[in-house]
């Protein structure tokens, strides 16, 4: 019931938000110009950037990469030097260089994979300026690239005047980014932060208070309660598909997520902007039908996954199979939320590349484990802000290629042909996830000393696989139980994070740039219609089959194997106990 309420509310709120986003990014005058225009002009004056300057895919991509490099270097230095810098009332020390690098890259890539434990290892300055700044800026950057891709699909802003083969104007990267931060992220975060504060989420710059613990044990009599501007950070970590919480246990911690209402707000905030991006795409492309088809495909997959995860967690924990336990799988979950809301959160957070948690994913039953991993591998069911829809477009391109052939035309999307150059780039994107995730998983597992995981056997494979998947999908959720703050984990994850962020954004930008300058074929009766159920089902099949085919073998050595092995053990143990009973009765008879 609550699940339906949350999902319905998300959809209802995302719609007007999507319309608003179309308004601020479509280049037409908008009512928000009066509010934000002067401030934006001021910012661009200071930065010395002409926000009207159109960019082709190359300059757009370079601007994106360079601005990321700059931010990355600053973040890295701030983290390395945090012990020397102000706003460090608790006197936390410096991070090791590899942890600092991992943390900087992790937040730069909108991933928020945490190999540190937030409140203990970061100063207020690091949390507020490095973490929070990146949490605001990086989703905006992803959205900017998405906007570039969308404009490319329609031939760029100079479509009306440009000649065939001429470079196309995909918009101005800086203008998109700044507008996304100022007009979207900040106002929304303010609203959510206020709402969360009202529910009791801390919002203070005071040093941590020390309190006496209730149960006075021998070793522990007092405890420091770390506080800070938690509400603000939680708001943006949820909204910006970030996921890095103030506290290590993330939104499972009562200070981050104290009440049912705060849980509702935070869950909606998880999916709000990613869903709104779909509405926005419809507006930007002026393709209502296409947006509805996208919404249908993503919504179907999302609901399917939610249903599977909820069902999975309503079952008893597989480890307790032999016990007479009928309630759901409560291991690693907050009693306050129960199995349903935890399963919902786990599904949505992995679909949206957010990665915040309100329960421990390590303890999910195998089916839900499979669902969370599928969400990250597909990475286009809503997905991260901007990058999720870009991934979705990549699937659309592949589906259009196959479906286009099947109706007897050279495949085209919005009137532009997909040819060898585009297919080569799509090929790279197709190979990239398996190459990165599986190769790193295989290498790491080949050297068990590197892993430092808490589980042997199949679950150990799952943990390693999950960590790299989470990094590649820029999700950031952890399977936990992994001692991941080691140079090996930090450095390999940095590589995976970078590959998982920049190639899947820049390559589609290149494809969109190439497509944009092609001759546009006007739609006719023979064009492939994208706004209908048939294409939706085709796309769905392509998404599922591609991922199924790429990752089934490794899944067998993970959650599938675990699930099946457990049920196998179950039947064996049932048989054993049956035999024992028989034996007992036999021996009893003999006595």
């Amino acid at each position: 019931m609550e699940i339906m309420l949350i999902l319905t509310l998300s959809l209802l709120l995302a719609w007007p938000l999507g319309v608003y986003m179309t308004g601020i990014f479509s280049g037409q005058a908008h009512w928000s110009d009066r509010l934000f225009g002067p401030l934006e002009r001021g910012i661009f004056k200071v930065l010395g950037i002409n926000q009207q300057q159109g960019m082709d895919w190359k300059s757009f991509g370079i601007a994106f990469l360079l601005s990321n490099l700059l931010l990355g270097v600053i973040a890295f230095l701030l983290l390395m030097l945090q012990h020397l810098l102000p706003l460090n009332p608790d006197g936390v020390g410096p991070l090791s260089w590899d942890l600092a690098l991992h943390t900087a890259v992790s937040f730069l890539t909108n991933t928020n994979q945490q190999h540190y434990s937030g409140q203990a290892q970061l100063s207020f300055l690091s949390q507020s300026f490095v973490i929070v700044t990146l949490q605001f800026v990086t989703p905006a950057m992803g959205l900017a690239v998405c906007l570039g891709v969308l404009r490319g699909l329609l031939g760029g802003r100079n479509q009306a005047t440009a000649q065939e083969g001429e470079a196309r104007d995909l918009g101005n990267y800086y203008q998109d980014t700044v507008r996304a931060v100022l007009r979207l992220m900040i106002p929304l975060a303010a609203i959510v932060a206020l709402a969360l504060s009202s529910q009791g989420v801390p919002s203070t710059y005071q040093p941590s208070p020390t309190v006496s613990v209730l149960e006075q044990g021998q070793s522990l009599t007092e405890q420091k309660i770390p506080l800070g501007p938690v509400a603000a950070m939680v708001a943006i970590k949820q909204l910006g598909t970030n996921g890095g919480g103030w506290y290590g246990p993330n939104s499972a911690n009562p200070l981050e997520n104290p009440t049912p209402l705060s849980n509702l707000i935070e869950t909606i905030a998880l999916v709000l902007i990613p869903i709104a991006v779909v509405f926005m795409a419809g507006g930007m492309l002026r393709q209502r039908g296409f947006a509805l088809m996208s919404l249908g495909v993503m919504g179907f997959l999302s609901l399917l996954c939610v249903a599977a995860a909820v069902y999975s967690e309503q079952q008893p924990n597989i480890a307790f199979a032999e016990l007479a336990q009928s309630s759901g799988n409560m291991e690693g979950k907050e009693v306050r939320f129960g199995t349903d809301l935890s399963a919902l959160w786990a599904t949505l957070t992995t679909q949206t590349s957010n990665g915040s948690v309100n329960a421990m994913h390590d303890s999910l039953n195998p089916l839900a484990g499979l669902v969370t991993r599928s969400g990250m591998l597909i990475n286009a069911i809503w997905g991260g802000i901007g990058c999720g829809f870009v991934n979705f477009i990549v699937y659309v391109w592949i589906a259009v290629f196959i479906a286009g052939l099947m109706i007897g035309r050279t495949p085209e999307i919005f009137g532009r042909k997909l040819e060898k150059a585009e297919l080569s780039a799509l090929g790279v994107l197709l190979v990239l996830p398996s190459a990165v995730i599986l190769l790193f998983t295989a290498i790491t597992l080949s050297f068990p000393a590197l892993i430092g995981n808490s589980n042997p056997g199949l679950h150990g494979i799952s943990q390693v696989f999950y960590e790299y998947t989470s990094a590649f999908a820029n999700n950031g959720s952890g399977f936990e139980g992994l001692a991941d703050n080691t140079p090996w984990w930090n450095i390999t994850c940095v590589i995976v994070l970078l590959l998982g962020r920049y190639l899947p954004l820049v390559i589609p930008l290149y494809i969109a740039g190439m497509l944009a300058k092609k001759r546009q074929i006007p739609p006719s009766a023979a064009s492939l219609p994208l706004a209908n159920v048939t294409f939706g089902v085709t796309l769905l099949t392509v998404i599922l089959i591609l991922n199924f085919l790429s990752f089934l073998p490794s899944m067998v050595l993970g959650p599938i194997g675990e699930g099946l092995a457990e049920s196998h053990i179950e039947t064996i143990s049932q048989q054993t106990s049956a035999i024992t009973t028989q034996l007992q009765s036999v021996t009893g008879g003999a006595q």
């Binding site: 592949i398 290629f401 196959i402 286009g404 052939l405 099947m406 109706i407 007897g408 035309r409 050279t410 009137g415 997909l418 040819e419 060898k420 585009e422 297919l423 799509l426 090929g427 197709l430 190979v431 398996s434 599986l438 190769l439 998983t441 295989a442 597992l445 080949s446 068990p448 150990g460 494979i461 001759r519 546009q520 074929i521 006007p522 006719s524 009766a525 023979a526 492939l528 219609p529 048939t534 294409f535 089902v537 085709t538 099949t541 089959i545 199924f548 085919l549 790429s550 089934l552 073998p553 490794s554 067998v556 050595l557 599938i560 194997g561 099946l564 092995a565 049920s567 196998h568 053990i569």
Partner: protein, 666 residues
């Protein structure tokens, strides 16, 4: 398909096993390497005295997978060659009568002819080389090329002056200027094309190859990383099983059939008597948005025929018909003859000319024709304004009802001929440009395939509009000059449309070259044939419909088999994955819901299915997926159902069957 073709293709399939051939398809290259590995493993097992049955069986099946793929390509090539051979046969041992500058004839072998040479060809002789008639007129039998035995007329200085090597002159003597040396004629070019010697991958084929290569790499990685994952939990995986897994997963079905589909597309075009100069042209034909058609000769027969007699008020029908007959009696034009024919059809008595009558032939000045008698009797017919002038000059009244009648006829797309005698104006003969039967249906089919038809005509807009409405074209351009076609094509292309056009005249050549698909009529001039990228041997302009279908079929077949190939993988997974892990992880048996008892036999069954599906689909690849004129969405739905969901289901059933048989045999 005869046994000779099969044997030839079987041998060629072996020749294609060389590494240089194998690298052409990345997918099949993986199978090639896998086969070598499997053979190597088999040899190792034999040497160590282990049981090698499974390894040997795997190696053999892998080998046959390769061979079948090569066979598919070879058979498509062989069929093309077969078609080419029969064309070549008509060219053997031709001799020519070379005409030297002083006008003397000498016999030379046709192979000695050079471009620019002039040859004389008489009735009963073969045309020795492609060329253009520079003098004379002849009827020619082109059945060697077209299979059509009705002779065609070829005449110097017209748009029908081209002759083709290997055809026979039935009557007349012509002087032909050779335009293509031996080995460079259209036939030679075509034969080389269908023989596949210079077949190049088409743009879409290249794009698909890239996609298939990427998928192959994905599967290679998925399988290659398995041993590392498995060894973490102490599971040793069998290398042969892994090779089998890779080969089953990579899209061998479509990759094996891809070259055959492309060659077969060209063959099908050839089967429709269309020579495509490149595979690309056939592929593009499937994308055509706009089709430009000349009205005359394409949509209509081109000669106007009498279709109705319309007497003026107060004039009897018989009076008009009599006048019409009389003034047409000695008229040699097709129009004149059709007047007599119509009168006869409608049951009017035949007329004979008065003894002393004199025929007035049509001239550009008078624009009238008819009969005049000694006694001052006149019967004339002609265009409205010409007859009006004639009548006024003789003081004959022009009734008020005439002009509306004439306009009415013109509005129907017909040409009015006014008939008069020395006393009065009798009425109007309606001459209509008769639309070819079945044209409207063809345009409807084209429309369903998304092709817009535009008629180009020199007629006035009213006539053009009327014909356009009856023929069912989507648009028309009236009062067009020949050079307007080029502009029109450019305009359409600027809007992003792909344009096809049919042409035969020299003044069509620039437009044929500009069009994305230029279908030149074989009866047309050499310039037109050089400019177009396809030549229709039958000179049938509506053939373009067939070409569009061949292009679409080509793409649909590729898409359908790609989908089928990928969909097959689902079932193969459920066969091989449980088999791979069967020993180490007994729990995985739940995935084996197909209940295949023995892991090794299960893997062999999947491999056998994987190999056999290639020859099983060769007929489909050669024939092409059937195309119907339905909406794009329906087409997609049908093909997804058949090749997508069918592709998921079929292997479950087929592999289970193969497995049952194998278990029963062993």
């Amino acid at each position: 398909m005869n046994t000779a073709v099969l044997t030839q293709a079987s041998l060629a399939a072996f020749q294609k096993l060389t590494p240089t051939q194998a690298v052409k398809s990345p997918v099949m290259l993986v199978v090639w390497v896998g086969t070598l590995l499997a053979l190597f493993l088999t040899a190792g097992q034999i040497q160590q005295g282990q049981s090698y049955g499974f390894a040997l069986a795997c190696s053999l099946i892998l080998f046959f997978t390769l061979w079948f793929a090569n066979f598919a390509e070879a058979i498509a090539e062989a069929r093309g060659r077969g078609q080419a051979q029969s064309l070549k046969a008509s060219r053997r041992d031709l001799t020519a009568q070379l005409l030297n500058r002083s006008g003397q004839l000498s016999k030379v072998a046709a192979s000695q002819l050079k471009a620019g040479d002039q040859v004389r060809v008489q009735a009963g002789e073969f045309v020795p080389a492609d060329g253009e008639i520079i003098a004379g007129v002849a009827t020619i039998n082109e059945s060697a090329l077209t299979g059509e035995s009705a002779p065609v007329l070829r005449e110097a200085g017209t748009d029908h002056s081209g002759v083709i090597a290997g055809t026979t002159v039935l009557s007349g003597t012509i002087t032909v200027q050779v335009t293509a040396e031996a080995g460079h004629s259209f036939l030679d070019k075509m034969i080389r094309l269908v023989e596949g010697t210079n077949r190049q991958k088409t743009p879409n084929e290249l794009a698909l190859t890239v996609l298939l290569a990427a998928l192959t790499l994905v599967f290679l990685i998925a399988v290659a990383t398995l041993p590392a994952l498995a060894s973490f939990v102490g599971i040793e995986l069998d290398l042969l099983m892994l090779i089998a897994l890779v080969v089953c997963l990579i899209p061998t079905t479509i990759a094996g059939l891809l070259p055959a589909i492309g060659i077969a597309g060209m063959n099908r075009a050839l089967g429709a008597n269309v020579i495509a100069k490149s595979g690309k042209a056939v592929e593009v034909a499937g994308d055509i948005d706009t089709l430009l058609l000349d009205k005359t000769g394409t949509i209509t027969f081109g000669d106007r025929q009498a279709t109705n007699f319309l007497p003026l008020p107060g004039i009897a029908m018989s009076q008009l018909v009599q006048g019409a007959q009389l003034c047409s009696l000695q008229d040699p034009t097709p129009e004149g003859k059709s007047v007599l024919k119509l009168a006869q059809q409608e049951g009017f008595a035949e007329q004979t000319a008065p003894d002393n009558a004199e025929f007035i032939p049509f001239t550009a000045q008078t624009r009238l024709s008819g009969l005049t008698c000694d006694d001052g009797g006149h019967w004339i017919k002609g265009a409205f304004d010409a007859v009006k002038k004639w009548a006024q000059s003789r003081g004959i009244a022009v009734p008020n009802a005439l002009e509306p009648l004439v306009t009415k006829v013109a509005q129907q797309g017909a040409t009015p001929l006014v008939v008069a005698n020395q006393q009065q104006i009798l009425g109007v003969i309606q001459l209509s440009d008769v639309i070819k039967p079945g044209v409207a249906e063809r345009f409807a089919q084209l429309r369903a395939l998304g092709v817009r038809t535009v008629m180009v005509t020199g007629d006035n807009p009213i006539t053009a509009g009327a014909i356009a409405a009856i023929a069912g074209v989507d648009d028309f351009v009236a009062e067009a000059k020949p050079e307007d076609k080029l502009d029109l094509i450019r305009r359409e292309q600027a809007k992003g449309r792909l344009v096809a056009m049919v042409g035969d005249g020299t003044n069509d050549a620039p437009a044929l070259a500009q069009a994305d698909v230029g279908l030149a009529m074989n009866s047309g001039t050499q310039a037109a044939k050089e400019a177009g990228n396809m030549v229709d041997l039958d000179s049938d302009p509506t053939k373009l419909l067939a070409v569009v279908e061949v292009g679409k079929q080509l793409l649909i077949t590729r898409g359908a088999l790609t989908t089928f190939s990928l969909a097959n993988d689902v079932a193969k997974y459920f066969v091989i994955v449980p088999a791979v892990f069967a020993v180490a992880m007994p729990g995985i048996g739940a995935l084996n819901f197909m209940q295949l008892p023995d892991p090794e036999i299960a893997v062999l069954s999947a491999l056998i299915f994987n190999a056999l599906i290639i020859p099983a689909l060769i007929p489909l690849a050669l024939k092409g997926v059937k195309i119907r004129a339905i909406s794009a969405e329906k087409l997609l739905r049908n093909n997804m159902l058949i090749y997508g969901f069918g592709g998921i289901l079929l292997p479950f059933v087929a592999i289970k069957l193969i497995d049952v048989v194998l278990n029963w045999m062993i």
